[in-house]
Symmetry: C2
Subunit: 514 residues, 2 copies
């Protein structure tokens, strides 16, 4: 037997995702169109929010051949323009033309996580239409740069076809134009739903969408108060592994353990560091670079076992806030009743997270049954709901306990923000059921349900009081009349004060039970 | 504003998966243990089957510290040994220590698809236990090689700690030993279920599993007939994109279009190629290397529109076959009734696939309700069932039409084999709902249900006949007796011949309805 029967080969990261595009949500012309639009749009929001700029995002989808009468799937041009920070020109080619190169690899809350979405859109566009992506960007508002780029998939490297510079005329930000083979007819419902939900959680953004038929959909900014930009944090001891510890030791300039710990770890000061070093039995003045392989193993095990580290600080996170969530829900769903429950910060494997849950009941928009709206770091998640941790929680809650009538019109809105969302797919469709996440979600949903129960029971008792008053208002005049006659008095007693006339009259016409 | 506010960086493929291990099914100690076992086991089966070797696989999981009384999660040693083809020693370091290097990047049916699973197991083991992976392998049965390897995650490169060679004593194949932090207590149920289901679809394999308590579970080979090894095929025109076409042109030695097509595409001969070139309006003698950018775009569009290409040939696939599936189901589920439906080969985006469905009813093992067993290229899929295309199909089938009683004890087994399974996650948990796949699954499930309906209706009518005979057998003697008395005859008529005595007697005791 010779080696020839086993063929080994190496592929580039671009090649891997090119071959396995189902992984990133680019599995069909309709899905690819949807994914491309949302990935570019989310990059635009990040480019504004992370730098404290109120977002103004313009999205347009046009058939590439304007005169075509072909049915879908066909080539579409996608344009996404923002007023964000812009991209320094030296980084543009790699940022758009090289997989695993990007600005999303820090420990901080952002919509993007894998640095993959935009590149997958470009790659998919390139292989289906044979056209380059065009990027125009300016960081200073003075000079703008335009690049036309293709990706060399086998080499995972950008090919610059054209580069030019021109006056920016005062505006910073980035515009991306790319062509891809898409099916808008099938994607349109999801695309519109996506923007509607996105507007619900970014009420401080102006979003303008022009669809392929030229129809304009505008979500106007409802508030100028934007959550403060999220901050980068140090890693928490509970999230450490051997590899991460080695890297910290290599990078650190500190030469004693206690300083190394307090400078490298999130929420570890000298006092906590000393206590921990006592616990694990390491000299606090030892040089971290002197740790042997076995020392590192021992250190890591102790980090995970030690109970006295402080929980991650969530000030690096940027939740929606009760007000924003409430406003968003009322604006988009117009319900009869809203409750919002926000959990205190928590953590899984050293990553801080915050759960926010909204519950809307009744009104004209919400249909019968329970509808779930899922958000993660302010991204609406529309696909693969059945496997998501939120679905799991809602299925497991004991609804009867909260006396919610069957098929009541209810919308549940869940939002999770974290420095690291535990997505199960590169396409960011749904979240893993980490136990810590599940617990916080369950508590928030229960809290919201308790509020609904209170509201419903109040509503019921008011209805009951009204019904009683209705009965009184029918019989009291008769009783008054008879007793007046019996007593021989001439004037009826003033019983009408006993009834709150106004309230009863309003309801009488509808109330057919009596 | 300076560039410093935007930090760009490059990460290696190892780094990407190290950071995002949820993507590959390594999200918790229990899940990681499960995923590591199955990935190594599946690599072993591939290493046998792809070379026509009857698999003999030995798996052992042991607490790394044999004397520990610690509760889970804790460090476990996983050992997986096979009698497969072995790995040429020059390829060992990269095959185990470099992400995106491997032997699974061809267009042929195999369990592995991403070349990721084994490496994720090694990576996870390394970062949680700080230990190298150890690989022993022999391709010729004469000389064996042992490597101890760590992965340099930032560089995506193997670090060889130790290398040695020794006599193989006649046995080829590979043994992998790695340590990882796992939770067997939580994983055990899934692990055992996994092996049980794996045995169901590989009845020609000997599988030996020793669990951490030293308990031995053996699945013995039930047959020596193994499906023929799957073959590599050329790409089908329907699966082409611009990138793939460019590569084929670059690699091809043919200098006229008609030959280029017939040598590069699956199921395209000179005749089909000529017809297509007429259709698209290209000279059949043109040099493929002379195609311009626009020509390539035009060519690709035409490839997708043209209706007269032959469907992909499924002879490259290796389905289970009716017999094997039937045997597997009967062995593992012991049902009252089995039906198997196999669909003719079909294709999605140029990738051939075959759907096989088994339906088992009744017996002692299957509980009430419908239980789904999913397989893809002979891998049992145990996680994320709710989003799988098979779940979707089963939910959408009109069960009433097949007169299946509510809560009947039914197991549905679906197996899809393809040169490219459309997994939605790197962890190979579930399949995308490609319309072609959905259609074939639906047809197969319906076919199996029709068979069940027939069986159930036959069973009912037999029961009815029996019941009638039971009534006759009670009343006939009396009628005979009375009519004999009335007629004054002395001997009873021989009515017993009218009844099939034997059949009735057998049932009478159970039949309490009369």
């Amino acid at each position: 037997m010779t080696d020839e029967r086993v063929e080994f080969s190496e592929i580039s990261p671009s090649e891997f995702f090119y071959r396995n595009r189902d992984l990133a949500g680019f599995s069909s012309p309709s899905r690819a169109l949807y994914s491309a639009i949302r990935e570019l749009f989310e990059n635009s929001l990040d480019a504004c929010e992370l730098y404290g700029i109120l977002p103004d995002v313009f999205i347009r989808v046009t058939p590439l051949d304007l005169y075509t009468t072909d049915s879908d799937p066909k080539a579409y041009l996608i344009e996404v323009q923002d007023n964000g920070f812009g991209i320094p020109p030296k980084h543009v080619p790699k940022a758009f033309g090289q997989v695993f190169f990007g600005s999303k690899f820090q420990l901080k809350q952002s919509r993007g996580m894998f640095g993959m979405g935009g590149k997958m859109a470009i790659l998919y566009g390139q292989i289906t239409t044979n056209k380059p992506v065009s990027i125009t960007t300016s960081v200073d508002g003075v000079q703008a740069f335009t690049f036309d780029i293709l990706i060399d998939i086998q080499e995972n490297a950008p090919i610059i076809l054209k580069k030019s510079s021109h006056p920016a005329e005062g505006s910073t930000g980035t515009t991306v134009r790319l062509a891809l083979n898409g099916d808008y007819q099938r994607a349109s419902q999801k695309v519109r739903e996506y923007f509607k939900q996105a507007a619900m959680v970014t009420p401080y953004a102006n979003i303008t969408f022009v669809d392929p038929y030229g129809r304009l959909i505008i979500y106007e900014r409802g508030t100028k108060s934007m959550p403060p930009p999220s901050k980068e944090i140090l890693p928490h001891p509970y999230g450490m592994d051997v590899e991460a510890l080695r890297r910290l030791i290599r990078q650190s300039k500190e030469d004693i353990m206690v300083k190394f710990m307090s400078k490298s770890f999130h929420r570890v000061g000298d006092r906590v560091a000393k206590k921990f070093l006592d616990y694990v039995g390491f000299d606090q003045n030892r040089d971290p670079k002197s740790l042997s392989n076995d020392d590192i193993t021992k250190f890591i095990r102790a980090l995970h076992e030690y109970d006295n580290f402080l929980q991650p600080d969530a000030s690096c996170l940027s939740p929606l806030g009760k007000e924003n969530l409430m406003v968003g829900i009322e604006k988009e769903l117009g319900p009869e009743f809203v409750a919002v429950a926000t959990r205190p910060p928590s953590a899984y494997s050293g990553f801080p997270f915050i759960v926010e849950v909204g519950l809307a009941y009744g009104g004209k928009i919400i249909p019968s049954g329970t509808k779930l709206f899922r958000f993660a770091n302010r991204i609406p998640l529309l696909y693969d709901e059945a496997n998501d941790v939120s679905s799991k929680v809602i299925n497991e809650v004991d609804w009867k306990r909260y006396k919610v009538p069957q098929n009541a019109p209810i919308a549940i809105i869940t939002h999770i923000c974290s420095t690291r969302i535990p997505y199960k797919t590169v396409g960011k469709e749904y979240l893993a059921d980490r136990p810590e996440l599940e617990r916080e979600l369950k508590n928030a949903v229960r809290e919201a349900l308790r509020k609904l129960k209170l509201y419903l029971s109040k509503k019921n008792s008011i209805a009951m009081v009204k019904r009683k008053l209705n009965i009184y208002s029918k019989y009291l005049p008769l009783i008054a009349k008879f007793s007046t006659e019996l007593s021989g008095a001439k004037r009826l007693p003033r019983y009408d004060r006993l009834l709150n006339r106004k309230q009863i009259q309003g309801d009488r016409e509808d109330d057919t039970e009596i």
